[in-house]
Structure formats: structure tokens, C-alpha cells
Subunit: 478 residues, 2 copies
């Protein structure tokens, strides 16, 4: 007797049953309410559906899940803290994917102060990574707005940036070893603590920044640093981005690796924060067109304040800066940082805000800001550009707020158009249309226009080699 | 009429003729005398033959050469300054390969002090890279014994290490953008000056460290740094590697990123230098079992000497170190460095020397040195281990000199045996059998025993994807 073919629904149920055998019934989430927050990304630009969310607790379980998905052709969307800003972690609208949540894989495998490493699983939040480092009197420098909820696995999969890149590099630069599960379930295990290892191709860099399309990162060995004993923070008023760039050059020349933050803000951005964030106040007496938050850190307890003072005096005497305040307490330091950290959030209180995440070669930042503002203003009179961010990395979020009084929804329909205007300037200056957020779905269709076609071909070939069935985060990046 | 098939020799001649059309007749070198130095690697462990050495002058010529080689299945061995220590740049004995010399591709494409970058071609020597950086008042930190003749392309293809890794990272960490020619002649061009660029997979890290097996690096954008205004160097005597490790921890804790060199040497290594290198002398009055060359660098002109002094006093008061001399002149600094730099060379004057290039997690260095010395001594009584090198990176060259009076040739027949003894200790401690020199031919057969089999499979798959005909440096690494 021949058994009847299962229907599609029966086949789907069968797969979910097998997934439940691997991770346990309660970790194959199909409940609509529980699923809902995982189907939409933070800015609500993408909203999808999923067959289920599967939550393995160990690398072995991730491996078995991938074996099953590869065997059945079930597409997988890896998800950590769901804080990504390009829709990389959001399932498609078709509903035929599963979300592979890494949040239960959150153990500290080892803290090793003698080698200055932390071996952590992918689902650990960045804040907890900071805490675990502090527990052994060390520091993990990666720092982002979403650090309370983003996970280290997501940070590595997207090669996250943030405010500490200037001195410590991007997320990929903070990793010694990596463990990842391949599309077919094989576990690539290289949880090395070595600073030097030239035994073959560097595979970890292939997985980091691939946004879950080449493998699922399950654990990593992170580099730790000594905790600085002195941190000095200045809030500086100056005339324009060119002056800010001169200040950066002066700072690097006089303080080198001690320059641990260099963030740019325009007056309009500061005004928005002062307007909407309770308890904030302008640290400087007069108004300035632009501001820099400058931070120096050192191991030595003494001398840093003097170094900062002489840097600022030097900059003042050369007419590079107009005014500066130095934080005299931890509270004041936090107040300065709040003016920077709230930039993005308060833009939402001023109506529609179209976000950008671009970079250009350092020397071209002033020209980039001027050209981008001019180009956007010419197309949308009254549009308010708020160009702020990591000047030290050439990475400026030149977000565009709607003209005062304009209709928010109508303005937001121009998202792609405004992006295109800014990206044209970026591309002309040899910049990147995604400095730190990645490609995901948001910029997938933009990639072919800006990327070397040979690089795209190689990327496609690598994808086909490592994920021949195309089940790992399909439709993202490529 | 059917044309007769060309003989093998005729076919070979035809290819050389076509290569001459691309690069010019005089740059297809077949002269035995001119070829000879390119057929052997510096330690004469490998000696090969080649059909010719081809010297393209531009990336376009490299591309055309690769198109032809790919079409005709002609295997290619890329070569820079021919200073590699694992035979990666040496052709096989079969004589059917061509050497692709990159030395004519040595232009400075751009020096950009404002963005702190240098765009250079692969054939530029490392010393010239240093000079070009100095010309615009910047520093390129990569520093190796062979810097006068090695080329930056070779440094990147092998992810070179050296004495500045502690503060600045390996060669791959010093690169922003890369240009490479693929096996089929396509040019992958990403000469980006960006510190942040998350538009797709990071392809540059795949080519760096792949030893010419995945593509031919033709140019790169290098990161530059401010030139330090103050450098202070100490030569420290101490009891053992564990004390050296404690000193390192103290140094990093008090001086952080200012610690720019931390090199370990044993008394036996110092004795060999004092014996064979004219003009050298022991900087310390008494004899010590071990020595550290410690260097601090800073942007500030003042305060560094005091910082070094208080670090050494602190270490002395905790009984971590026994004695120390601080260089009071540039001459003295150079004299200290000579004691370190001559370590490898003078070993050759003491008879046979079997070289090692391994790394272990930082905290395990003392155990590694003790275990390796014990294991080698048990097998070869009287063998003299000279364990020196980059302690700050966990990278110790524990070279083994023959017993006094033993026969050199007989001792050197035990090269693989001694390597195996040391590698067994390395592997047990989670270390790497090639810290900075690469795999090449020397360690190709050792790789399968120490590498994660999944990683090896992925490496093979990447090789097949990027070089399906296997013409790029065949038989190296994999």
C-alpha cells in the first residue's frame, strides 16, 4: 500500500514537530502575541511573518536545527536582540521562514583576565558583556545606543560600529576567535585566544559582517582591554565641520590613542535635544554652529586633565574652537554624553525623520556635509538636516527631519528619494552607503549600483559555496 | 589540411611569447643566472625550478597575465621580496610554473595625510612604505627584520607580524582597502579609505593571509598613524617568563596603548649575540636568566620617561624585575634593539638551528616555554633552546640550536622531529603552529593534524570557488 503524500500544511507541521524534538516544544514559538515583536524591526520599515520562532539553547541544538532546515529547505532568519536598523533580522512577508532566535544561547563560557579574553555565546547582550568584563577588572569597548538589548552575536554578524571605533576599531576588530554553524549544520569551531595565528584563511572575518547569510555565529572570544583610570570629557563649540576636523587632527597629534571619542553635532541637533529631553541644558554660554564631544582616556591617574586643557588652549589660540566646557564630575560627563546619545531619538519628536548611515574618507567629511545638505535642501526646501555622529571614523548620520509643519506621512514617502540624493554625494566622494548598520533588506537593492561588480560576483560565489540551498537569511544583503 | 599538434615544448614557448607580448620581452626572465635567486627561499629549505619569471608593471598587466595563465592552465607563484620563511614564494621542483614577480609594481599611488592613508602598489618594499609615510609626517608601524627587502604585497598576502603587533595589530589590521587580481584575471578593486564600510562581505580579509592562493594582491590603502614624539626604551633583567608576563600586565595596566614593544630574550640568546655580533655589549652589570626589551611611545613630548621610571620602580619593588637600564640616547636605543634583532641571525653561527614560529594564549607562555624546552631536551640531550620574541602577542620563536660540538648536518635532519615535539606542546595549549610566517610548503602537511576539519573543508571550498583550475600558488597552504 502506498502512503498518501502529506499536504503542505502537514509537511510544515511535521517540520515544526521535528524542531520541537530538538529544542523543546515551548521553544518553538507560534503564538501570535509572543511572535509579534520579533516580526518587525525597530523603525517599522519592515514587518514580516514567520512559521515559528525557534529558540535553541546550545550550539549543538543550533547545529541540529540547521541540519533539519537544510534537509527540508526551510529558510532561516537568525535574530538576536532585534535591534538592527536595516531589516536584516526581520522575516519576509511570505511567512515561510523560521526565526532562529539566539537569545537563549547566552552563557559566559570563560572569563580569562590573564589572557585578556572573554568567551561568550551569541545571545549575551552587549551590556552584559560589559558587565562580565568589568567583573574581572577589564573593559570591552564596543558601545552602541542599543547596548542594553542588542546581542553580541548580532553585533558581530553586522560588524557593529558605535562610539568607540576611533580608538578600538569596529566589532570585527575586537574578536580573536569565532564559533559558527554553517548552513548544513556543520560547526566551524575556532574559539582561539591567539593574537597571532597564520594557519590558513581567516574565516572569522567572512562570517562577521555577513549578516547571517553565510553562517550563524554562536560564540566568540572577545578581546578585553585595561579599564582606563582617567577619562576626561569636553564639550566644544566651533564654527564648522572643517574646524572639527582640525581639532581632531590636533587631538590625535597630541594625544594619539588616548582620543577615545570624537563625536560631531550641529546646533539644530542640540536644539532638538534641549527641546525634547527633560533635564538637559546647554553646557556653553553662547550658541555655536557646531559641537564636538571629545573624550580622552588614559591608564595613568594623573596628567590627563592637563593634557586636555593644553589641547583645548592650543586649539583656542589657533582659532580652531570658540568655546569649551570640561566635565568636572561623572554627572556632568553623563550630561554631555546625553546631548550626543539623544540625537537620534529626539528627531522622532520633530515629525518625520529620514535616517542615513554613511561614511566618507575623513578629509572629505566637511565637503560631504555641505554637499549633502545643499542637495537635499534643493529638492525639499525647508528639510532640516541633522548631520551628527562619529566624525573620527568619517561616519556621519546625516538624518533629515521634515520641514516644520509638513505632513509626516507624506515626508516619509520620500525616504528612498532622500537616501538616493545623499548616496549620490557619498558615492561621488568615495564613501560607503552603509557605514555601520549593514545592508539587510533596506539597502539590498542599492548595493549593485555602488559596489564593484567583481566584488558582488565574488560575494555571490561565496554565498553559493557556503549556502548552496540559499536557506540562510535569504534576500538579505544579496 | 589539418595543422599538426604543437609539441609540449612548442606550446610552452608559445605561452612565453604571449606573456612577452603583455609585459615586454625583457620582463619574461628565463636566464638561469637571473632566475637563480628567485628559485630558493632564504633558509634554503626549498629550492625549485620555473619556466620563467614574469614581471608585470601594472595591475592591468597582472590581469592580462592571469587571463592567459587561467586559459592555458599555467600555474603561477606570486613573489615579492622573496623573504618568506615557509617556502610560499618558491616554485616547485617540477619546473612547470611561472614566478609572477610583483617588484615592478611599486608605485606610490597616493599619500593622503588628511585621511591618514597611503595607497601603494604591492611591490613597494616595507622600508619604502616607512619612508613614504615619514615624508608626510606619519608612521606606518609594521616592522620586521626583512623590511629592507620584503614587499608590502607579500606582507599582506602572508599577514605579517613583527615587533609592532602589540600596539598596532598584524598586517591585516593596518589595511583599509585592497586591490587584487583573481585567478581568472578579474580585478577586485576596493581601494577604499574608509574606516567603516558595511556594504557586504569583507573580501579583503580573505585575500590577506591566503599566501597568494586565492588572488594576487596588487595594491592597498594602508592606515597611517601620528609619529610618536617620545619613545623610551628599557632593557630589563628578570628571573623567568612568568616574571616577564607580570611586567607586561603591569605595563599595560599603567601605560595601556603606549606599550609599543615587549620582546623576550633568554640569557643564552643574549650570550650568542654578544659572542657573534661585533660592537654589542650587555647593558646590565649582572647576569640574568631572562630579559625584556620594553618600549613606550607617546605623542606628548614630556612625561614618558617618568612613566617608564615609575613602572620600573613599581616592578622592582614588587620583585618582578631584577635590574633595568633605560636608553638615554638614540644610539643606546639602537644598541638595545640590536640585541633583540640579532637573535635569529647569530643562531646560525652556533651550528645548526631549527626554527619555530608558534603562539599560545598569553597566559600560557611560561608553561609553553618550560614544557617545550623539557620535551626537546628529553629527546635531544644538550640541545639549546633559544626562546625569544613577541611575548606581548604570545608569539615565541623557540628556536633550537644544536648541542655544542654536534654535527650540524645530522642535527638539521631532525628539523621535522623537533618541530613536531614543539607543535605537540603548542597544540595541547591551544596555540598555533604558525603565528606569523604562514603555512606555505613548510607546514602544509602539518595543517590537517592541527586544524578544525570543518575549517579545512571550508578553506578547500573557497579555494575551489575562487581558483577552480588551481593555478594560483598550487600546493601551498592546502
Amino acid at each position: 500500500m502506498i502512503a498518501p503524500c502529506p499536504t503542505r500544511a502537514e509537511a510544515a507541521d511535521a517540520v515544526l514537530g521535528r524542531l520541537a524534538q530538538i529544542v523543546g516544544v515551548k521553544h518553538v514559538v507560534t503564538d501570535t502575541l509572543e511572535l509579534a515583536p520579533h516580526l518587525v524591526e525597530p523603525r517599522e520599515l519592515f514587518k514580516g511573518r514567520a512559521r515559528a520562532m525557534v529558540r535553541p539553547a546550545t550550539t549543538a541544538e543550533v547545529s541540529r536545527v540547521m541540519v533539519l532546515c537544510n534537509e527540508t529547505g526551510l529558510p532561516v532568519v537568525p535574530q538576536g536582540g532585534n535591534t538592527g536598523l536595516v531589516g536584516g533580522q526581520t522575516p519576509h512577508e511570505t511567512g515561510d521562514e523560521i526565526i532562529l532566535s539566539l537569545t537563549r544561547l547566552d552563557r559566559l563560557r570563560e572569563a580569562d583576565p590573564a589572557t585578556n579574553t572573554l568567551t561568550v555565546e551569541a545571545g549575551m547582550t552587549l551590556t552584559r558583556v560589559h558587565d562580565e568584563a568589568a567583573r574581572i577588572d577589564r573593559m570591552f569597548p564596543l558601545s552602541l545606543a542599543s547596548e542594553g538589548s542588542c546581542t553580541i552575536g548580532g553585533n558581530l554578524a553586522t560588524n557593529a560600529g558605535g562610539t568607540a571605533v576611533l580608538a578600538y576599531g569596529n566589532a570585527r576588530d575586537l574578536v580573536l576567535g569565532l564559533e559558527a554553524v554553517l548552513a548544513d549544520g556543520r560547526v566551524l569551531s575556532n574559539l582561539s585566544k591567539l593574537k597571532k595565528d597564520n594557519t590558513g584563511y581567516d574565516l572569522k572575518h567572512l562570517f562577521m559582517g555577513s549578516e547571517g547569510t553565510l553562517g550563524v555565529i554562536t560564540a566568540a572570544v572577545l578581546k578585553l582591554f585595561p579599564r582606563p583610570r582617567a577619562i576626561e570629557t569636553a564639550f566644544v563649540g566651533l564654527a564648522d565641520p572643517a574646524a572639527a576636523l582640525k581639532l581632531l587632527e590636533l587631538a590625535l597629534d597630541s594625544a594619539g590613542a588616548s582620543v577615545t571619542a570624537f563625536e560631531l553635532m550641529p546646533r539644530i541637533g542640540l536644539d532638538m535635544v534641549l527641546r525634547h529631553a527633560p533635564g538637559t541644558r546647554d553646557p556653553l554660554a553662547g550658541k555655536h554652529a557646531w559641537y564636538v564631544l571629545l573624550e580622552l582616556s588614559a591608564q595613568a591617574e594623573h596628567g590627563l586633565l592637563e593634557a586636555l586643557g593644553s589641547l583645548l588652549e592650543n586649539a583656542m589660540s589657533r582659532d580652531i574652537i570658540d568655546d569649551a566646557a570640561v566635565a568636572t564630575s561623572l554627572d556632568q560627563r553623563e550630561a554631555f554624553w546625553k546631548l550626543r546619545d539623544m540625537q537620534s531619538e529626539v528627531q522622532g519628536r520633530e515629525g518625520g525623520s529620514i535616517k542615513q548611515d554613511v561614511s566618507v574618507p575623513l578629509a572629505l567629511v566637511p565637503r560631504f556635509i555641505a554637499d549633502a545638505e545643499g542637495a537635499v535642501g534643493a529638492r525639499i526646501p525647508g528639510a532640516r538636516m541633522v548631520a551628527f555622529g562619529h566624525l573620527g571614523d568619517g561616519n556621519i548620520h546625516c538624518n533629515v527631519s521634515q520641514p516644520v509643519g509638513a505632513d509626516k506621512a507624506t515626508f516619509l514617502t520620500r525616504w528612498a528619494e532622500v537616501n538616493a540624493i545623499v548616496h549620490a554625494v557619498v558615492t561621488r566622494l568615495g564613501g560607503s552607503i552603509s557605514a555601520e548598520h549593514g545592508i539587510g533588506r533596506l539597502k539590498r537593492n542599492l548595493l549593485p549600483a555602488v559596489k564593484d561588480p567583481v566584488a558582488l560576483d565574488v560575494m555571490r560565489a561565496l554565498k553559493a559555496t557556503l549556502d548552496p540551498k540559499g536557506i540562510l537569511n535569504p534576500g538579505k544583503v544579496l
